[in-house]
């Protein structure tokens, strides 16, 4: 399914040598085989299949091994990108994964969901004239190779230091902190509010984009490092942060509770039956497996016509989930233009291919119900682009008299998430900003409480997996220093 001629010979960097030979065609960026749109819109299986080995090697050979690799600066965790790619080109996969894991403990996840096109790939030099090296796909390849090979190596763990650390939240930030500190010989326990680990990776991002088995394999790895996880433990209710530091005897605490508070639009009709936050819709489908109802007990709306409000990754996930749950028409309603959608290009492209109908420059003003309290339509206004606003994007302004009704039975509100106030409210000593995010030091993650660190979405607001992991790594360094400095 690769589009490219598989010449197997690299060489945009090697001069097309002999004079009388025609110039060798440049090897194009290798496509990743994937399920056809008509098929995948009816199942929850992962969309792309990943690179076959030979394709990965061809793609790896497209990297020109820059002396000062720009790509590395673009990666929030500073992976040695030319290094791991070179090892793939040389078919030394073991070496490649080793290089990868020095900087990134969760490559199978990042390779799938990282916004590469805005981070490492956008600055790749081969992208100046042609297309950038597919760094994310190679990252995914090498991680999958390791998992498929069945021998994921567990590094040696140093002798116990006698220090105990509590981590709140088993999302990417918390898992990273836990893994890093366990590797330094500390005793780590994660307290997770839900009955499963992974945070957004489990309850939010759907199976067709990130299979749960991959998340569970990464969590298993962290557990093999000696990390314990207690589920159903909501810190702030079950134990407070203070209790963890006192009665429960932890020397330091990391807070990685994410941005799990759904925003609504505050328009009339938002509490009608059939209106969901994307969080609820995705949680029912993913975490509670409502797609398998009635085998699984949790129900979800049986929708025919669905409007998803928003233009980010979360909106794309909700829209594509609705389609897979059997909706006939799924409209994406977004008040700005397509170029301004914050979702990853790949997700927009996939959604488009699957038949999601984009209603751009459209703003909902009310949701209308029937006598039984069910959604029957949504009234929208057309918008046009006006002056740039604070974010530098042209501000959408309503077109007068452009009101129209969209006939729908389900509305999924996906306009963003804020900081969940549950833990901060129960922890008065913890300083938060006006949006409710925990205030933490840029470099170390230290909060206003001694020994208490924080990172990920709870600090910077809804962002990305890799930023949460980056924050986790930095906090782990600082926490290590701190706990080694105290007597136990």
């Amino acid at each position: 399914m690769t589009e490219s001629p598989t010449t197997g010979k690299p060489g945009p960097n090697k001069k097309a040598g002999k004079r009388n030979k025609p110039k060798k065609p440049k090897v194009p960026r290798q496509a990743m085989p994937e399920q056809a749109p008509e098929i995948r819109r009816n199942n929850f299986k992962e969309v792309p299949f990943g690179y076959p080995i030979d394709t990965a090697v061809i793609e790896a050979n497209r990297c020109i091994q820059c002396k000062k690799p720009k790509c590395v600066d673009g990666c929030p965790v500073g992976i040695d990108i030319p290094g791991f790619i070179k090892a793939i080109a040389e078919r030394d996969f073991e070496k490649s994964i080793r290089i990868m894991k020095e900087a990134n403990a969760l490559p199978a996840i990042c390779g799938r969901v990282c916004p590469q096109e805005e981070q490492c790939e956008i600055v790749c030099v081969t992208g100046i004239k042609g297309e950038p090296v597919a760094i994310g796909r190679l990252e995914r390849f090498i991680a999958d190779w390791e998992r498929d090979s069945g021998n994921v190596s567990i590094p040696d763990i140093p002798d116990p230091t006698g220090r105990r650390v509590a981590v709140v939240g088993a999302g990417p930030a918390g898992l990273t902190v836990a893994g890093e500190l366990a590797l330094k010989g500390h005793k780590v326990k994660i307290f997770e509010a839900l009955h499963k680990p992974g945070g957004v990776l489990i309850y939010g991002i759907p199976e067709f984009r990130l299979p749960k088995s991959i998340v569970m394999a990464e969590v298993d790895y962290v557990k093999k490092l000696g990390v314990e996880i207690e589920y159903n433990a909501i810190i702030g209710k079950y134990y407070t942060v203070e209790e963890l530091l006192t009665e429960e005897g932890y020397h330091s605490v990391f807070i990685g509770t994410g941005a799990g508070l759904p925003y609504f639009m505050n328009i009339p009709g938002e509490n009608l039956n059939g209106v969901y936050s994307a969080n609820e819709y995705l949680t029912r489908s993913n975490l509670m497996r409502a797609y398998d109802f009635p085998n699984a007990d949790t129900p979800i709306a049986m929708s025919k016509k669905v409007a998803v409000i928003g233009g980010g990754n979360v909106a794309m996930d909700a829209a594509r989930t609705a389609l897979r749950l059997g909706a006939e028409d799924v409209y994406l309603v977004y008040r700005r233009a397509r170029e301004q959608m914050p979702a990853r290009d790949e997700e927009i492209h996939h959604a488009d291919e699957e038949g999601i109908q984009f209603n751009l420059l459209t703003n909902p003003i009310s949701i209308n119900g029937d006598e039984e309290g069910w959604v029957k339509s949504m009234t929208c206004l057309r918008m046009e682009l006006g002056e740039p606003d604070a974010s530098g994007r042209q501000r959408p302004v309503p077109v007068e008299g452009s009101e129209f009704d969209l006939e729908v039975d389900t509305v999924i509100v996906s306009i963003g998430n804020g900081a969940n106030p549950l833990l901060p409210e129960a922890t008065p000593a913890l300083d938060t900003n006006k949006w409710g995010n925990i205030i933490a030091d840029d470099k170390t993650g230290l909060t206003s409480m001694k020994g208490v660190y924080a990172g990920g979405d709870i600090v910077i607001g809804a962002a990305t997996v890799i930023l949460a992991m980056g924050a986790g790594k930095e906090a782990a360094e600082a926490m290590h220093e701190y706990i080694m400095s105290i007597d136990v």
Partner: protein, 279 residues
């Protein structure tokens, strides 16, 4: 973990469990609830913590079998375990000495009103309990309520026991008798809470109700439990479950409780236990 230590049947379809849960037993306060999930395929459902034994490390849950999850849970026996028990959730009742508190429980609602009445009594209030059920057989916790009340009034819809009529008739009686009521706490079917609130509003008696909206996570993450309180949307699991009864939009709450009726019927079809709606 979460082993069922004692199981009792209180009335037809109402079960009383004492469940091992040491941390929650220590932490919980009156008015709080847990979310339970009984098996891997299970739904997460909220249940009030009726009582706890901090020393013995147990909590007490009383539930009515109304659908798939509660019926399946009712089939568990002593020695079995509940897969997940999460809590304590929700804001605790604001307990202080204010004078005379009328605690109203309708049907299964007597179970969640009991811990609040008990805490209010311990805070030095005079407790008048008004408990009601459709008939004598469905009445629960009468003795326990009597033990913590200064006065107890019982009503049944069919007159098979106590006073013939609704709990609102008994409250009206108290008002007519000139009893000075400082607070009414009412928990039961939504129609009952609405009727109580309508009545007390006429007399300007402050009224708290505890709402039972459909929940998923119980931590403020999904918004599924939202209700309109005055002109504001609130999440029952974190902002409640108790709210000012005079501000609740009961019509909306009733509609939202029915959101999954067709699916619930489907999911429940093969189950043999009798379906008894909450309303």
């Amino acid at each position: 973990m979460n082993e069922i230590k004692i199981k009792q049947v209180l009335s037809e379809g109402v079960k009383d469990f004492v469940v091992e849960s040491p941390v929650i037993a220590k932490k919980r306060k009156a008015g709080q609830f847990v979310i339970v999930r009984i098996n891997e395929d299970g739904e997460r459902i909220p249940l009030t913590i009726v009582d706890s034994d901090p020393k013995g490390g147990t909590i007490r849950l009383i539930f009515q079998e109304v659908g798939k999850t509660t019926c399946a849970m009712g089939e568990l026996e002593e020695g079995d375990s509940i897969l997940d028990v999460v809590g304590p959730l929700g804001k605790a009742t604001h307990v202080e000495k204010i004078g005379t508190v009328v605690c109203v429980g309708g049907g299964i609602g007597v179970a969640p009103v009991y811990p609040i009445a008990k805490a209010m009594k311990e805070a030095g209030n005079k407790i008048i309990s008004v408990i009601g059920a459709r008939n004598k057989d469905l009445l629960i916790l009468e003795q326990e309520m009597a033990d913590i009340s200064d006065q107890i009034l019982v009503t049944t819809d069919d007159g098979s026991y106590g006073r013939h009529g609704f709990v609102t008739d008994a409250i009206q009686q108290l008002i007519d008798d000139g009893v000075k009521i400082d607070l009414v706490l009412a928990i039961g079917p939504v129609v009952m809470m609405r009727a109580v609130s309508n009545l007390t509003k006429k007399y300007n008696v402050p009224t708290q109700v505890s709402l039972n909206s459909i929940m998923v996570d119980g931590t403020g993450m999904c918004g599924g439990c939202r209700v309109s309180i005055g002109d504001k949307t609130k999440f029952v699991c974190v902002d409640g479950p108790e709210f000012d009864g005079h501000l609740v939009n009961y019509e909306e709450l009733m509609l939202r409780q029915k959101a999954y009726l067709p699916q619930e019927r489907k999911s429940h079809k093969n189950h043999k236990c009798r379906m008894e709606g909450m309303e």
